[in-house]
Symmetry: C2
Subunit: 322 residues, 2 copies
């Protein structure tokens, strides 16, 4: 790895092009796989990229827009001879994919994934990985509320973190995968699966569940019309609707497979919510003010760390009048 990039990795488009894997296979062709393909091309990290998606429609779109170099009709066909196979399907579909590709995996190749939970993926995929193949789970903390093969873009991972869960995997293979993610623009951190699942329950899974809940409640009220909810959403609610527009299958699988950590954080959340609710009921303004002051500092930290824009309202593009 050349110096100068994040965590010592290469700066995309700034150093010599290094092909890290001759053949990469992406199993699944949604937002993350599509963005990976575009980000790998941007930095010249892969010799060639094959892809597979279960849906014929998705495969047709991927061919139409040239999302990968070759679109295959089966996962095994895509994974054959690959130096890196990345499972980019919802967590609940990972085991079936691992079973399909296992017989064709090349000795010495690396299998990774991009699932939002790691303990469950290891349990589902691990047993299918043949001897001599490196299994290194990964999770890029990047995404949007859009999904499908047309939603990817090369910049998705720039300045975002990718967590690797090597769990004792070969060091050289791990370093190569690390270099790939750095080459796609990410910062990389390694941690164990349980800690990953707890951290993500806090920074992602519980916030998503809460957003889904709030949007469902608003949609369901009899005394406030849907039209009112929509027109008056700029007062705060619309931010929740973005999160609650994420892919339903992916998120169903996240909650089913990161049950314990999500329920733990949800328990802490409701405990705290009830304390604030009691402060409202009893008119304890000091408690509310102190709580609301403390949370401001977290925002500052995120902006200073380059993880969000400081522009008001996220610098939303103004909507044309009328």
């Amino acid at each position: 790895m050349s110096a100068g990039g994040p965590c010592g990795g290469p700066v995309p488009g700034d150093g010599p092009v290094t092909v890290l894997y001759d053949k990469v296979a992406l199993i699944g062709l949604g937002l993350i796989a599509g963005s990976m393909s575009l980000a790998m091309r941007r930095a010249g990290l892969a010799g060639s990229i094959t892809g597979y998606a279960r849906s014929a429609e998705t495969r047709a779109v991927a061919v139409e827009i040239g999302l990968v170099d070759h679109v295959c009709d089966t996962a095994a066909e895509a994974a054959k001879d690959a130096d890196l196979v990345v499972l980019c399907v919802p967590v609940g579909a990972m085991e079936a994919m691992a079973r399909d590709i296992a017989p064709v995996l090349k000795p010495g190749c690396t299998v990774s994934d991009v699932g939002s939970v790691k303990r469950a993926v290891i349990a589902a995929v691990g047993p299918h990985i043949p001897e001599g193949v490196h299994f290194i789970p990964a999770h890029p903390l990047a995404g949007t509320e859009h999904s499908g093969p047309r939603s990817g873009f090369a910049e998705l991972f720039d300045n975002r973190w990718c967590i690797l869960v090597p769990d004792g995997a070969d060091r050289a293979a791990t370093d190569r995968l690390r270099a790939l993610w750095e080459g796609m623009g990410s910062f990389v951190e390694e941690m164990d699966a349980d800690h990953h699942d707890l951290v993500l329950a806090v920074t992602s899974h519980t916030p998503h569940l809460i957003a889904y809940t709030m949007v469902g409640v608003a949609d369901d009220l009899q005394r406030v019309t849907d039209s009112e909810v929509i027109k008056f959403s700029a007062a705060g609610f619309r931010d929740f609707t973005r999160i609650a527009a994420s892919d339903p299958t992916m998120w169903r699988d996240v909650f089913l497979t990161n049950k314990d950590a999500t329920l733990e954080i949800l328990g802490r959340f409701t405990e705290e919510l009830f304390a604030l609710q009691r402060a409202i009921r009893t008119g304890d303004g000091d408690h509310l003010h102190a709580y609301f002051t403390r949370t401001r500092a977290v925002r500052r930290g995120i902006i200073d760390a380059g993880q969000d824009t400081a522009a008001p309202n996220f610098g939303r593009t103004p909507v044309p009048k009328g």
Copy 2:
């Protein structure tokens, strides 16, 4: 009013300039008052604009940046001879301001406000309004997580809704205030105070409380460090931190004064959250998938109504690398 604008109002910068009020007084010089001053100037809606803020520092900044035409040292001085006085202070400070300005109010003038709750503002301000003065509460549904005199901008109200709560006020005076908000770029709707407070509990107050709670929980966990929360926030959490960075005093007052409606919606929220929590615990993927699918439609409605951008991640400006 000329035709062609939202709700039949004038299109800013597109029709003849009409001064709607010779003298406007803004009591409070934060985000909303500052944006009102800039929006009124943009469309030439006010002959002159005076302003008052309790804090000497805020007044000094307002003078320095020329936020209004005259900055006064007392609310009464600012309100004297005004044709329109707008209370732009936290809800908890409205009564004291109304008491201060009551003796100087010009017969026939209009008093309004921009508070986030309406029933409590009517109860606090109404009794101080002299005979012959029009009191027409208002609430522009626009804002950002920033506050203070430097945070205002002329476009804040463009395409956003402003709710008027005339409650039997003089029709001509109400229409004039309506034209002012339309001239500042808003759409205008009229409703009664209780319905306003319920609608806002759904679209704003409860979402804010939930966001504050989630950010507080994340900040408080022992097993996940603040640094991890910040680095990995892009997975969803960072959207909550924006809302939870809003002005603590304003929001304390909102919850203390819109207690009943907020507690009602919070009750519905926790009921629904517990149902989803049970679905997670029992592994009921169908319930989760159906719920997550339904909420996608709400987002679509908001985008179609021009109340948010369709760009992924709100079209956030990419943060420069490194």
